[in-house]
Symmetry: C2
Subunit: 171 residues, 2 copies
């Protein structure tokens, strides 16, 4: 089971970035996104609508106390924190395959405690990038790329491959 | 040479997403980002500052007429357009390695002409995701992952690997 924990969501500033994190988590086969910060019903509904239309059991839930959440789940999950200051993800990822993971994805600021709570602080490149691309690459490496060929069986709408048009069919 | 063309930037709505596209393009070894839509000096300066501090010759430039830009460069560059409606990127990527590419990355809406102008409409998963993660995965596949071990030689600041703290040194 792979859970993504997105920290410190702010409705006004982060609306689209948090949506991109959630859509990436879903398409790259994470099971659930918890997000802390401001509760955002519009965001939750928009992701729920994507799941209903395009399939998957992916869920989004608000998390009031993310430090407590991590502490309470440290026994059952390996805690991973994505940060450009961490160890190179590509060298650590084999140890994490087939484990239950909580992947912590920062917002604008990340409290120092998460660096301590995480068993693995992992960097996707040693550069300032984006939590969206860092998450995509980590999940891609964990999946051995299988998300690229994945189809959600419960999809009501399916996007078909096309050379130069938009083709969507009922699932 | 790899150019990313980000369409229809809107200062108010897209500020952070376009920044994430640019930072991802830079860290994943694209050479330049052109963006159309509203010219945004703050965005340009913030990316320029990252390049000065952390290295790379990556550049950002506003593009007034992206259709004309693509048409004028079709002879020298292979035009790729990232869209979930396209062909599976993982099956096409070997044809694109070591070519000069313009990778078109949409904003909220993409005019139909880009589907026709592109030699390759490519999908990273057949799901609604994010232009940020789609770009990261396409560049990762094109690079054979070499961006993960890359260091920019002209960096003034370098982030070091660390298990649980932040280490930055002068380059």
């Amino acid at each position: 089971m792979i859970i993504v924990l997105r920290l410190n969501h702010r409705i006004f500033r982060d609306k689209r970035i948090t949506s991109h994190v959630a859509l990436t988590a879903r398409a790259f086969l994470a099971d659930k996104l918890y997000y802390s910060g401001e509760k955002d019903s519009n965001f939750e509904q928009s992701i729920s609508k994507v799941c209903k239309q395009f399939g998957s059991k992916f869920e989004v839930e608000h998390c009031k106390d993310p430090v407590r959440f991590v502490k309470e789940n440290k026994d059952k999950f390996t805690i991973v924190h994505l940060t450009c200051y961490g160890l190179n993800a590509q060298n650590q990822v084999n140890k994490l395959k087939n484990r239950n993971l909580i992947i912590i994805v920062g917002g604008e600021k990340v409290e120092p405690i998460y660096y301590k709570l995480a068993e693995y602080n992992l960097a996707v490149t040693k550069q300032p990038i984006s939590e969206v691309s860092a998450l995509a690459i980590l999940l891609h490496l964990l999946n051995n790329g299988k998300e690229l060929d994945n189809e959600f069986k419960d999809a009501k709408l399916k996007i078909l491959e096309s050379e130069n048009s938009k083709k969507v069919v009922k699932g």
